[in-house]
Amino acid sequence: MPKGKKKTESRGAGLEEYLEGTVFLDLWRDKMFLGQEFLTWLYLTSEKNNHFFELPGGDGVEAFFENRLTLSHGRGNNRRSVAITTTEEPRDPDWDEAYTAIGNNKRVIKGTLRVKAENREWRLTLPHDTLSPQGVKLSAVKDPAETDDLGKAGKFLDKIALTAELVSIVDELFSLFLSRRLSETWLTEDVPRLKEYLSSRT
């Protein structure tokens, strides 16, 4: 189970100096595609691997987009978006419209994600621009008696801890994507594999 990272020098040590002279908003806008590519990769990889991910730390989690996915293509005034929703529970695993949209160069920009780790489960909306969890529904399995006894501060701490665990999982999934995206075999192995999977679904 991924926990909050220990305080180490790896959290962007020297990054301020590296980014000196860079306009943050320009950098954010220029690299906005990273979030879209991550969500698209997450969707395809999740479907391909039956929702299972082995995280860099060695833990396994389930993560999949549930019932709403927004895909987009183009920039600014030329942006074309499509929202795909389903009311089926569980949804049809062959979410044809999504595959077709990705095949037509649309990229995932937002989706409702379900994440499961051991006996904990989260539902959230994940937007591409920040990758910060929105509207997090926490459904941890708890002894009801224990929950009743929790005071406000205790309940608050409980929510913080569960959200921190979710944030760590999202960070690790992003790290997993990034390690593949920057690897030398991205073009020779990962891209063909994703395209092959997409072709088999459309």
């Binding site: 980014l19 906005m32 920040t130 509207g135 990034l178 920057l182």
Partner: protein, 206 residues
């Protein structure tokens, strides 16, 4: 939505410096008190922003024990604001201008008009009801992160300004590119900066 009630939404910041040794619980409480929320109920101020406690969001007292929860610090960013609709101001101004003319038999000049309008604006603002906006802030010192409950540029900018005034500790918004630059070893940062869109084609996409 925040952590006390509802389904939380998070805007994440990285605190980019180590916590200074003199930032004890008492010191943090003192800094919160100095930038705590000031009530504008009986004034004609248009807005006021500052910190209030997490559990008792009416209190800006920050007694020891009211803002530290386990290893985290937590409090609320409170902003009260009132808005006077332009149409309302104009309506009352027209009445005031007529009364001025009836009393003096001359029309107000441009300086007098401006003064009349400003006095009227301040007087009417006092009669406008305040809107209160509360945003939880959680400082997870163990992760070097600050979470602002909610999203939106206006709230973000207000938080960044007040955080800087209160603690003077720089924060960086966590978004995909800064997350990526933090994730990779420093020698691979240029690789991140050199990435271009192309997840499926392997070539640059629109």
């Amino acid at each position: 939505m925040g952590f006390m009630k509802g389904n939380p939404s998070v805007t994440r910041y990285r605190v980019t410096v180590n916590l200074p040794p003199d930032f004890t619980e008492e010191e943090i409480g003192e800094r919160l008190r100095k930038q705590s929320f000031e009530d504008i109920e009986k004034t004609s101020e248009e807005s006021s922003a500052g910190w209030v406690e997490l559990i008792d969001d009416l209190s800006p007292a920050f007694e020891v024990g009211s803002y530290k929860f386990g290893p985290n610090y937590a409090f609320n960013l409170r902003e009260d604001s009132r808005k006077l609709p332009a149409k309302t101001l104009n309506r009352y101004y027209n009445i005031a201008e007529r009364e001025y003319f009836e009393k003096t038999k001359v029309r107000p000049n441009s300086v007098q008009k401006k003064e009349l309008k400003e006095n009227l604006r301040l007087s009417l603002l006092k009669r406008c009801l305040l809107t209160t906006d509360l945003r939880e802030v959680v400082w997870l010192t163990g992760r070097d992160e600050v979470w602002l409950a909610g999203s939106g540029e206006k709230t973000r900018l207000l938080f960044e300004e007040l955080w800087g005034q209160t603690f003077g500790l720089p924060v960086r918004l966590l978004v995909p590119v800064t997350m990526a630059l933090e994730t990779v070893p420093p020698e691979n940062r240029d690789d991140v900066m050199g990435l271009v869109p192309g997840i499926l084609s392997g070539e640059e996409e629109e």
